[in-house]
């Protein structure tokens, strides 16, 4: 069982927290429980599925593809002459790029710690045309507004992709913790990109209202499908958040903004594949 706090210690001289023995013991116990569960609660096909370690590595390998892509996206954007002029917005994008680079490094270590093989970085065509340069985002590298639109889509999708993987990380508490700490950093990035776009005139907020993207592009709009959901899970089944417990404050807008919805693995990979050269 890997302890990611230990990994952080290893890759950093001034890691903030030391590993904790109790944590390790608990994780081992939960992982042991997990290997037993499928026989009792899940059908036998599940029992023959990947081990808890493999599930963590596989989940992180989906997320690392996204992280590689986002890192390269900001790199290309910042390196493209004249696309993002000097000024506060360029500084914001540089901060985001700095974080994306280290996110790929951490994920790489998490996957290695689970004895997985980290997906390498790819080459990308950010028009979404797989190298044809004729994808649904044709102006992404020659128009800053178009670049920021795709930045918003990428950040919102990244946040939502993490949520779909949470269930695959449960055998390793430190993997869950690190994933969430990356994912809230992405939440901050998304909010900032949205605020930049709002200043430039887009009718959006730092959070996602219904499935409104403020982007006039069908491919972008598609990626917000599901965000209009108002039903949340409870052990009694799905419950509509609108006017929950009779609280009239919670209208459609509030109910959708208050939760970021998952984007599932197939959709996430489809999104990444759109931009990946092969």
């Amino acid at each position: 069982m890997a302890d990611i706090r230990q990994i952080l210690d290893d890759i950093s001289e001034n890691a903030p927290v030391v590993s904790d023995r109790r944590r390790l013991l608990y994780q081992t116990a939960r992982a042991a429980a997990l290997t037993l569960i499928p026989f009792g609660l899940v059908n036998s096909a599940k029992a023959q599925g990947p081990s808890p370690e493999e599930r963590v590595a596989d989940a992180m390998n989906v997320l690392i593809r996204l992280a590689h892509m986002l890192s390269d996206f900001y790199k290309q954007g910042l390196e493209t002459k004249g696309l993002i002029p000097e000024g506060p917005n360029r500084e914001a994008l540089k901060t985001i790029y700095k974080h994306k680079q280290v996110h790929t490094a951490i994920m790489w270590h998490v996957i290695k710690a689970q004895h997985g093989i980290p997906n390498p970085t790819d080459s990308y065509d950010f028009t979404g045309g797989n190298g044809s340069a004729g994808g649904p985002y044709p102006n992404v590298m020659n128009n800053s507004a178009a670049f920021l639109e795709l930045a918003q889509v990428m950040e919102d999708v990244a946040i939502r992709a993490f949520k779909a993987q949470t269930g695959n990380l449960v055998s390793d508490n430190s993997a869950i913790e690190v994933a969430h700490r990356i994912h809230t950093t992405c939440g901050r990035h998304a909010a900032k990109i949205r605020m930049i776009r709002r200043e430039l005139g887009a009718d959006i907020k730092p959070w996602i209202t219904e499935k409104i993207s403020g982007i006039d592009n069908e491919a972008a709009k598609e990626m917000y499908e599901g965000e209009q959901n108002t039903m949340q899970e409870t052990f009694g089944g799905l419950v509509d958040m609108r006017h929950l417990n009779g609280n009239q404050t919670i209208n459609l807008q509030v109910a959708t903004e208050a939760f970021d919805e998952p984007v599932f693995e197939a959709e996430t990979l489809q999104f990444v594949n759109l931009f990946t050269l092969r």
Binding site: T166, N173, I176, I182, T184, T185, A191, P206, F235, V254
Partner: protein
């Protein structure tokens, strides 16, 4: 929610979380017991154990935010712009939604006493004082969620709370931008690994002592 209540997970939830229902059935401690103060003379707020304790803890964080933003909106500082007012209103309403969700799912296991806060040190007429407090609360809420979410034994709880925490991060970034442009993810909150803060409950309670002087009994929460 809350693990031991029943195991009749909805089919959709079952599929959504990959059919992996964690070790709840095995490791989840029963939390049906009525809360009683095991420590006479200890006036800290009882949270309960297991997943219930965790949800009570994050519910308390949400209540702190709601009480704060109610005061902000009830006594708007001089020069609060329409956008700022709308932002505070949105954030308050999101926190209300989260709190109502926890109320619904905790049902009888909810912390009995109202969560007592102390905002007397905040000057609600002063924009800087309000925003500084808002920043503290939002950053701490994100860090508190990051420091507890992995202790949920049930993936249904973990899944829903995961949907909430990124919205808290959006709030934190937004408030920071209102104070200082481009401070949305400064080095004081994001470390050299690009990780947002994760703060464990006992440290959250200490850090928020001035706003929530009564504190919580964090030792009943699951340990890793």
């Amino acid at each position: 929610m809350h693990k031991d209540d029943n195991h009749s997970f909805s089919r959709r939830g079952f599929l959504q979380y990959g059919g992996l229902l964690t070790g709840s059935a095995i490791l989840g401690a029963s939390c049906k017991k009525k809360k009683r103060n095991k420590y006479p003379g200890d006036y800290r707020v009882e949270l309960g154990e297991g997943d219930i304790g965790i949800s009570n803890y994050v519910f308390a964080m949400e209540q702190l935010s709601i009480q704060f933003y109610d005061l902000v909106l009830g006594n708007p500082y001089t020069g609060m712009s329409a956008v700022e007012h709308a932002t505070f209103t949105d954030i308050r309403n999101h926190e209300v939604t989260h709190a109502e969700y926890y109320k619904l799912t905790l049902a009888d296991n909810i912390i009995q006493e109202g969560f007592k806060t102390d905002f007397t040190k905040i000057d609600f007429t002063d924009r800087a004082s309000v925003l500084e407090a808002a920043k503290r609360i939002e950053d701490m809420t994100v860090a508190a969620y990051n420091g507890i979410i992995f202790r949920y034994s049930n993936t249904l709880n973990m899944g829903v709370v995961s949907k909430i925490v990124s919205v808290e991060a959006r709030h934190a970034a937004c408030i920071r931008e209102m104070i200082e442009p481009n401070s949305f993810a400064s080095d004081d909150v994001i470390d050299i690994h690009g990780l947002d803060k994760s703060i464990y409950p006992e440290d959250v309670v200490t850090a928020l002592q001035d706003l929530a002087p009564k504190g919580f009994k964090t030792e009943t929460l699951p340990n890793y």
